[in-house]
Amino acid sequence: MKLTHREQDGVVILEPKGKIMGGPDATVLHEQIHELISQSKLRVVIDLAKVDWMNSTGLGILIAGLTTLRDNKGDLKLACVTDKIQSLLTITKLITVFDAYDTVEEAIAGF
């Protein structure tokens, strides 16, 4: 998984690309979120448009990001969730945990 980021309207947009399946993936996103918190950047959108698929490790990474940001009075939202990831979020009931939007702009507006 590769990870890039940008800022828009005071929100950080993280853009993972590829498959999120385990191994070193877990630390990359976590370290990025901790770095953002240290910079007091507490509103984060994860744009999933370029994620081919993820397994439960990927879901765990999203949950860790969400709880870490909320523990620091921030929040995390999902954007551009693909059908496969939407299906996983639904069957695991995580769709009730995350705010998910069709576009990055809608996710930003959700803050």
Partner: protein, 145 residues
């Protein structure tokens, strides 16, 4: 009893978490070579990486001297995937896992892998390996949906 297996591929990797990508590449190559539709390739890749991660992290406890064996076998329209570890205390009993859908478990970062495997596959069994350890066997029809 179905038709005899027509094709078997096997990969053996040490229990290093970084090797899961190799398992995924091996699996997807075998499936695409067999003409499996993309959506089913994705489901099988999700499941296989779940099982390989579990074998590495939980079965073999990241001991790189212990191996994980991934076997992919086709019999007619059915693909069978086996992931075997070399744990000392197999076979794993999935009934011991907490319910990942329970309210108190929703925000846990781990514990939903086996649930996902069962949701995506037609059959899932946990067996004892021939020399101990756990072998997880999953089967899926690969006919176009």
């Amino acid at each position: 009893m179905g038709p005899p297996p027509t094709e078997t591929a096997r990969l053996v990797i040490p229990s290093d978490p970084h090797r899961v990508t190799e398992a995924d590449e091996f699996l997807e190559l075998a499936l695409r070579k067999h003409g499996v539709p993309d959506s089913i390739v994705t489901d099988l890749a999700i499941v296989t990486t779940e099982l390989v991660n579990n074998a590495i992290m939980h079965g073999n406890r990241q001991n790189i001297d212990k191996m994980v064996t991934l076997t992919v076998q086709f019999s007619g329209d059915i693909v069978e995937i086996r992931v075997a570890d070399q744990s000392d205390d197999g076979p794993f009993d999935p009934s011991t896992l907490p319910d990942p859908l329970a309210e108190e478990n929703l925000l846990k970062e781990v514990g939903r892998g086996v649930f996902i495997v069962r949701s995506l596959m037609d059959e899932v069994t946990f067996e004892k390996g021939p020399t101990g350890g756990t072998v997880v066997v999953v089967r899926k029809s690969v006919k176009s949906e």
